[in-house]
Symmetry: C2
Subunit: 288 residues, 2 copies
């Protein structure tokens, strides 16, 4: 009998959570993963990765991801779910996708829990530039790990090393202490899968959602929150991502507007060597 | 016979272009408007407005727009088109929409030309703040109009007054003269419908797309371009928009990354009184 070490036999938790069984055509089956559980459902980044995974796994796919918008329509229950990924339009070099995740309700009727659209494209080499330089920060190995700030299972799947803008601690009964408005709600942190995993488009989509809602930085009072829509733009080809290996990414997030129950925040992800790989934005529901 | 003046009888060109006939349920019929024609199809902002209009006109709609993502899948021909707007999931206070625009091809088969998702929600009053102050610029009435920079029909439907970052002029044979990378590709301009029209969610969606692609500012050489996806977050209620009347908006756009055929740019829209009404981002195809 072969004596392969256990570690080599077992897929990375991220890949286990991403596993989709093709049902032929546009349809796939998946199962929520307790390893990426958030407060009341799967980590939103994991769901973004799953929506993209269905596209990546689709036999008709043309090219690589350029943009992805994921809309979180309802809380998901632990258990199986269906994914449908349909190429709504395919041109010579681009392809537009519509994706839906559904779960059966108590009566066995499939209900939409997530909608998404994505663009894949065959990229060609062109003139290029980046206007947003990576901030000058200490190297990842010189920054202390800070996972487990909140007791959430998915946080254990990431090695998060905060450079600035760490989640403020709150104590029961503590009153609001908003940041002065001339201090931007910026968080900078190094991030990597735990255990390390080679970067790809699906993990990039998940990394775009690791930032906690900016309202927790502006108002230490913890109010109920939930991302309702996230858009991710990919600025690299698959080959370039491979070149990043399982290195750290530097992430930066900043809030823009907080108004009547919804805030938006923008995010940037750089490779360890300073390439801006992802720009992203999301809009987040908050109560009070 | 009544002697109503002609001006009062005729709808604003924007409303004429937005007209959708309900076909019952999720289906609507529209017709492209020559008044908002761009290079090879309708102005993308008009199409974003049309996708949102189908939601606004839908009898099942709950609440007001919070986010909208529009994907431009194919060039549109002059003529009729079908819109389908489906509420994929409705909760107590939020509703997720999937929208598709289709046009018949030569063989009479309906082909998707645009996909979109939107979130509408019943907003509640909460704590709020804006981190992005309106830039300090001259008032709209003190800035010269600059419509008609390019000979495009849709530009005649807007009163655009550039404060900075006007489209550079190019001459045949002119060589590339990229901006130094430490100079951001920022454009600031006042904008208003021409003739003036009271602000609403549909016109806001269109305003988010009036900025020319940032690559024209970085590289005066004109290469073929086209927005492939735009996301718009609305940070105001309908009542607040009504309060803006037909006043000017201040818009600001900035490029972030230009890489292998796709660039992304972010945009902000403030009311004349300085309220940040919209944050937006888009990803644009470019050649060479």
């Amino acid at each position: 009998m072969p004596t392969t070490p256990v570690l080599e036999q077992q897929a990375h938790p991220f890949d286990q959570a991403l596993a989709l069984q093709s049902q032929g055509g546009d349809d796939f089956l998946g199962h929520t993963s307790p390893a990426y559980w958030n407060m009341v459902g799967p980590f939103g980044g994991m769901l973004a990765a799953l929506a993209l995974k269905a596209v990546m796994q689709h036999t008709d796919r043309l090219g690589e991801p350029v943009s992805l918008t994921v809309n979180y329509a309802a809380a998901m229950a632990p258990g199986p779910f269906q994914v449908q990924a349909r190429a709504a339009r395919t041109s010579r070099s681009t392809q537009h996708w519509i994706i839906e995740l559904r779960q059966d309700d108590a009566a066995g009727v499939a209900q939409t829990v997530l909608t998404a659209t994505a663009l894949t494209a065959v990229r060609r080499s062109t003139w290029g530039a980046s206007e947003i330089a990576m901030p000058d920060v200490p190297r990842a190995q010189d920054v202390h790990g800070a996972s487990g700030v909140l007791p959430l299972e998915w946080l254990k799947r990431y090695d998060l090393r905060f450079v600035s803008g760490k989640l403020p601690r709150t104590a029961p009964g503590e009153t609001d202490a908003p940041l002065p408005l001339d201090v931007p709600s910026v968080t900078r942190l190094w991030m990597r899968d735990e255990p390390p995993r080679a970067l790809d488009f699906c993990s990039l989509a998940a990394f775009a959602d690791v930032f906690y809602p900016r309202i927790f930085l502006r108002r230490p009072k913890r109010v109920p929150v939930g991302t309702v829509s996230m858009t991710v733009y990919f600025h690299a080809r698959g080959g370039e991502l491979k070149g990043c290996g399982s290195g750290f990414l530097l992430g930066q997030a900043r809030g823009q507007v907080f108004h009547d129950g919804f805030l938006d925040q923008s995010a940037h992800l750089w490779s360890e060597s300073g390439r801006l790989l992802v720009t992203s934005s999301q809009i987040v529901y908050y109560k009070e």
